[in-house]
Symmetry: C2
Subunit: 347 residues, 2 copies
Amino acid sequence: MDALLVSPGSDLRYLTGYDAKPLERLTCLVLPSSGTPVLIAPHLERAAAVASGIEQLGVEIVTWQETQDPYALTATLVSGGVVALDNHMWAEKVLALAEAMPGVEQRLAGPVLRELRMRKTPQEVEALREAGAAIDRVHTRMGEWLRAGRTEREVGADIADAILAEGHATVDFVIVGSGPNGASPHHEVSDRVIEAGDTVVVDIGGTTPAGYCSDCTRNYVVGGTPDAEYAAYFAVLREAQQAQCEHARAGVTAESVDAVGRQVIADAGYGELFIHRTGHGIGLETHEEPYVVEGNDLVLEAGMAFSIEPGIYLEGRHGARIEDIVVCTADGVERLNLTTRDVVALP
Amino acid sequence: MDALLVSPGSDLRYLTGYDAKPLERLTCLVLPSSGTPVLIAPHLERAAAVASGIEQLGVEIVTWQETQDPYALTATLVSGGVVALDNHMWAEKVLALAEAMPGVEQRLAGPVLRELRMRKTPQEVEALREAGAAIDRVHTRMGEWLRAGRTEREVGADIADAILAEGHATVDFVIVGSGPNGASPHHEVSDRVIEAGDTVVVDIGGTTPAGYCSDCTRNYVVGGTPDAEYAAYFAVLREAQQAQCEHARAGVTAESVDAVGRQVIADAGYGELFIHRTGHGIGLETHEEPYVVEGNDLVLEAGMAFSIEPGIYLEGRHGARIEDIVVCTADGVERLNLTTRDVVALP
């Protein structure tokens, strides 16, 4: 590859510290295989780019005026036949760059950048630890908000406030899946009124001021006790997640972590109800490499951080998911979420 | 074009009401020029897709399992040689679709979808009106938070809370540009301590539960009065923004709205300090078509909504910007932001 072209997002923040917003005007780091890296930026964002300290890294800032063509400008900085684009670059920029650089092959920068991003430094692990502690504090306070008679949306709004109050800069997602909504893994909130006896899946996360993400799922029962069926599969789920956390370590494959939990759940007869992969990497993004999924034979290394979050979903009835963020160490994992993984009974 | 391919984001929400999150797993509406539209979705998000009501629009939901290739699946639904991608589709999806459909030309869906999205229905105008009123309430309360001795970041955190409290579902951006930081149009917040006598640019916006965005800039002076230079150019800026709001209406071009304000500012000798276009369309996104910029000869129509936000920036000293969202009517514009456009003096 002759150059990486990186637009605003977590790749740009990772490489340079510049946390620019992805907008319609082109901002793009041109990182050539040799020579000086250049940040193309709208003129009105020059001061914001300078304030990020990007120049101290040896990046030259080149700005464009409102009526200039920034894609033609970018093309003048690229020599060679292959460029790699950050994975989240918008289609309008991908196609405009292709048009401005006829004959230049476009690939993805992901295969290069993931090698850096998925191996966390001790500083990054500490940032993830702080994020984990912050979301744990929110789960600890769940009894303040989650009770029968309130809607998922009302509870979710209170949780969102607490995500900020407990040390995040942004709320990334709030899932309050009560009763049958617990069987939809990516349910968010609805106007469903939570009923006495409901089990509730609460999966929440945010981004700290340092830019690192939290993500943790716990299970609650409100004003009652779970039915026998739920209790039976929850015990299996608890065992599966525990087995996965004990198996994961440097030297085993990502897919083996998935397989260990899937086996426990399948052996108990619930295999068809575990309808998603086990987990995803986490760092500057909630979802990033490595993915803990069948077919991913990546060998885990110390410093890799990811979720372990098996789930069992009984459509129309209820569901459960237990999720911790873990960081691989030489002889196991460090869990970054430490609140109880059992079903928490609230009044 | 033979099909539009639309991934999660405002285009998908506009077309179908499904407010899916953009994530690594492919969700994609395949909207053929004839035949049944299909939503490709991860199996674990089937329930969320159904809950959005998308099936009632005649869209068939086809799901894929974690170890399947969703791009190959999408390719089986496209016949013909040209597809159009939503403008914000991620590069990883653009390139994977290209690989799954060799020989199929990729274009942007923007030129088709903007014709729909930039002409707001009365319901959309009402939603923007509510968003405008919500952000106006935040500006009205600015004296609760903005004062000398606090950092921009502290003030910004309070503003963010108020954006939510006053009726938004999310905080999209908070710019508190005090003193010299007011000269950086896309400054956000910093640890700078606001000093007595500082002028402060406050540009804030969020998205309401209905999905529509607010965006309004007002100017404050804290514990003092602006210096003579600021007072001089602010008067010019005020006049320019007023002239633009009086000029804008159905039948004039977008670029003429820009030119009218630029002329007022240039005539007063500040032309070099107005370093950005006049404005952007607004709706389900904060920035969308039409752009109010030199070179855009689009003729405005009733129902088009956009910002009018000229600015004057004196690097190293201070800056000012006045921004209203307006909606074109047959004989003028309706302003959706109604708080005073003069500099507001706070204790």
